[in-house]
Symmetry: C2
Subunit: 85 residues, 2 copies
């Protein structure tokens, strides 16, 4: 499949998850190569509170569905990198 | 770091997440190479209901803390594989 275009809202996520989905801060998960269905479902769960994570809920609350889908596609399409030493 | 020993309870997780952390079924996330702190926290959240996921809560409810830690270490130490075509 073609690589997805860089999402307009990527910067919001990249602060913690990195532009290519490798976590930048403690507590944040890597997202690179994660399954698309799982990423979509996790975003829904953060939004509706089934995952009680205030930071994520606040971060994605204002982001529209189409933008969230673009972000899930972007991260799922990335290749995981080796951890930095 | 040395690779962790294969956890005694790995089979429980592997049915959905694979022995090396590549998901086997729709809806399950890849775990290979995921950050250890994130895996530990996610397991706690499943157990105490902050993540409302009945399957995961049922699966890990009977598993002791030491076994959960061994499982988190195992999956974090795996190298992500390319998706199967």
């Amino acid at each position: 499949a073609d690589a997805p275009a860089r999402p307009a809202r990527l910067g919001l996520c990249a602060a913690c998850h990195g532009e290519t989905g490798m976590a930048q801060v403690p507590g944040a998960p890597n997202l690179a190569g994660q399954r698309l269905d799982y990423l979509r479902e996790a975003l829904k769960q953060y939004r509706d509170g089934r995952r009680a994570a205030p930071l994520m809920r606040a971060a994605i609350g204002p982001v529209g569905d189409a933008d969230l889908d673009a972000l899930a596609r972007w991260y799922s399409a990335q290749t995981p990198q080796a951890p930095r030493p």
